[in-house]
């Protein structure tokens, strides 16, 4: 497997604090990779740096072999790199269906296209069906529960048929049943060739879903390996339990 995403020596400082410290890792194409680490280890910052929401201080990021340093989030999204947020960000004034359609990306010309083209509608209907959201398709997103919003955000980023999806804590605040649902969606999309990089706290989720785990502590990559290997690695336990 080749590396779809390659992060080398990425560094980000906020004032005195070095949030990400010469962090390096790569995500293999077709993998489900977890990015774990204790609170404050810089996971979300890494996400923000990769997706262009924050500028990096130094280091390089390559997506599919091309450097994407300094790219804007929208451009990356159109290139097939999409993400979700820890606190699901959906558009409350749009309906569930529209939340999907608006995320479909598309060409310049499509800006002037119909609000909801036949292909958009079909694609959205598929995803809604798959994510069991059809019954709320015409509700405003602001009327959804938390868990439904997380599902919706996840479904929305799939609209553009991305190659790499960065999920920021897909299970945060959702109940066990929904966690299972999330896991099965991730697996089934992975089977169609979508690569996932997931920030996750729920270790059992990581163990059952992911095939590679990157452990971050204080902004540094301390360990990379299979879930089982990472689980038994004393460095990881130290990172979690402290010194």
């Amino acid at each position: 497997m080749t590396a779809l995403l390659d992060v080398t020596g990425m560094t980000k400082r906020f004032g005195h604090l070095t949030a990400v410290d010469a962090c390096s890792f790569s995500v293999a194409e077709g993998s489900i990779t977890a990015l774990i680490g204790p609170n404050g280890s810089g996971k979300t910052t890494v996400f923000n740096l990769i997706t262009g929401y924050l500028p990096t201080d130094s280091g390089s990021v390559a997506f599919d072999g091309r450097s994407i340093a300094g790219a804007d989030p929208g451009g990356l999204y159109r290139q097939g790199l999409s993400r979700t947020f820890q606190q699901a960000r959906v558009f409350g004034d749009l309906t569930v269906q529209e939340n999907l359609v608006v995320a479909a990306g598309g060409s310049w010309r499509s800006v002037f296209g119909r609000r909801m083209s036949r292909s958009d509608r079909i694609r959205a209907a598929e995803l809604l069906e798959e994510f069991k959201l059809s019954h709320v398709a015409d509700l405003f997103a602001s009327e959804l529960s938390w868990g439904q919003r997380k599902l919706l955000e996840f479904a929305a980023v799939l609209m553009s048929r991305p190659r790499l999806v960065l999920l920021d804590e897909p299970t945060a605040g959702v109940n066990p049943l929904l966690i299972q649902t999330m896991a099965s969606h991730i697996r089934s999309y992975n089977a169609t060739g979508v690569t996932f990089l997931i920030v996750e706290h729920d270790m059992s989720f990581v163990m059952t879903v992911c095939d590679q785990v990157i452990v971050l502590d204080r902004g540094k990559t301390i360990c990379v390996g299979t879930p089982e290997a990472v689980q038994s690695d004393p460095r990881v336990l130290d990172a979690y339990l402290g010194d």
């Binding site: 005195h16 204790p38 609170n39 820890q86 605040g173 109940n175 697996r187 059952t208 689980q231 402290g242």
Partner: protein
């Protein structure tokens, strides 16, 4: 029913009793019946994996979050539904996880804010003097802007500020988060000196080893329930703790079958613990 967790302090009366507390945000539930007892003069460290509900426990105690069920008792009195201000007057001080100093104000002004509810200046200044003995930084850097202090120094000022309330109970939420090792040592030193001065502390700590090392008692929270309690030193060596952190057999491995429609609907209705996500 919530006895027998105190190894060495049976004679001390319980200061805080958290009794079967159920709490959450919106319609969701994070704490699913938490029981804890804290005795006067004890330092208890609450540890557990992310999302277990540790911060939520502190919030139900300080009044920032009203429990849906169960009771919070302080010195035997039911204070479950009291507002934060009322709790503050009872001497329950909450130091949140985020930095709670006012960055543009001087260290001294930050301290004075700790005495906001206090009308008696004499007592206030006496308490500041008292705090200064434990935390010399508040006099040595008194006119520095709080924002210019290092993270560890800021935590020290925050801890010093709690003393102005002559607190019965200090609730510390992840005091060491985001700090470099040196600052972390400063903070745990400070917690130890507070403990030495006989303050009762309920501490939530991600850094379980340092946290337990600074505490008398420990409790492990997982998925909204207290899984383990005991003297801090015992928990430090308990292999079960590591399992709770890094995931293990308690979890049924999720099946690959798509869930039935009804359960999926029930699932999506579970809402948000926004505070737990940070």
């Amino acid at each position: 029913m919530t006895t027998a967790i105190n190894a060495d302090g049976q004679r001390k009366p319980p200061l805080l009793e958290i009794d079967d507390v159920v709490a959450g945000y919106g319609a969701g539930v994070i704490l699913k019946g938490v029981k804890l007892v804290l005795h006067r003069g004890d330092v208890m460290c609450l540890i557990g994996p992310n999302g277990a509900g540790k911060s939520t426990v502190l919030k139900t105690v300080s009044g920032l979050l009203r429990p849906k069920d169960g009771a919070v008792r302080l010195e035997g009195e039911d204070v479950t539904t009291e507002a934060p201000k009322a709790k503050l007057r009872r001497g329950v001080v909450h130091v949140p996880q985020e930095r709670s100093l006012f960055p543009g104000m001087t260290v001294w002004d930050n301290l004075l804010m700790g005495g906001y509810l206090m009308r008696n200046n004499k007592i206030l200044h006496a308490r500041i003097d008292e705090a200064a003995q434990m935390f010399p930084i508040i006099t040595s850097r008194r006119s520095a802007h709080a924002g210019s202090l290092s993270g560890g120094e800021q935590k020290q000022v925050e801890l010093a500020r709690t003393l102005l309330f002559d607190p019965k109970l200090i609730l510390l939420d992840e005091p060491s988060i985001g700090l470099d090792p040196k600052s972390r040592r400063l903070v745990f030193d400070a917690i130890r000196s507070l403990a030495a001065a006989g303050r009762t502390i309920l501490l939530v700590e991600q850094n379980a080893r340092s946290g337990l090392a600074a505490s008398d008692q420990g409790a492990v929270l997982e998925s909204g329930l207290v899984r383990l309690t005991g003297p801090a030193a015992h928990l430090l060596g308990d292999p079960e703790v590591a399992r709770l952190y890094l995931g293990a057999s308690q979890h049924a491995r999720p099946s690959n079958n798509a869930p039935a429609l009804s359960s999926a609907l029930a699932a999506v209705a579970a809402p948000t613990p926004q505070e737990e996500l940070t």
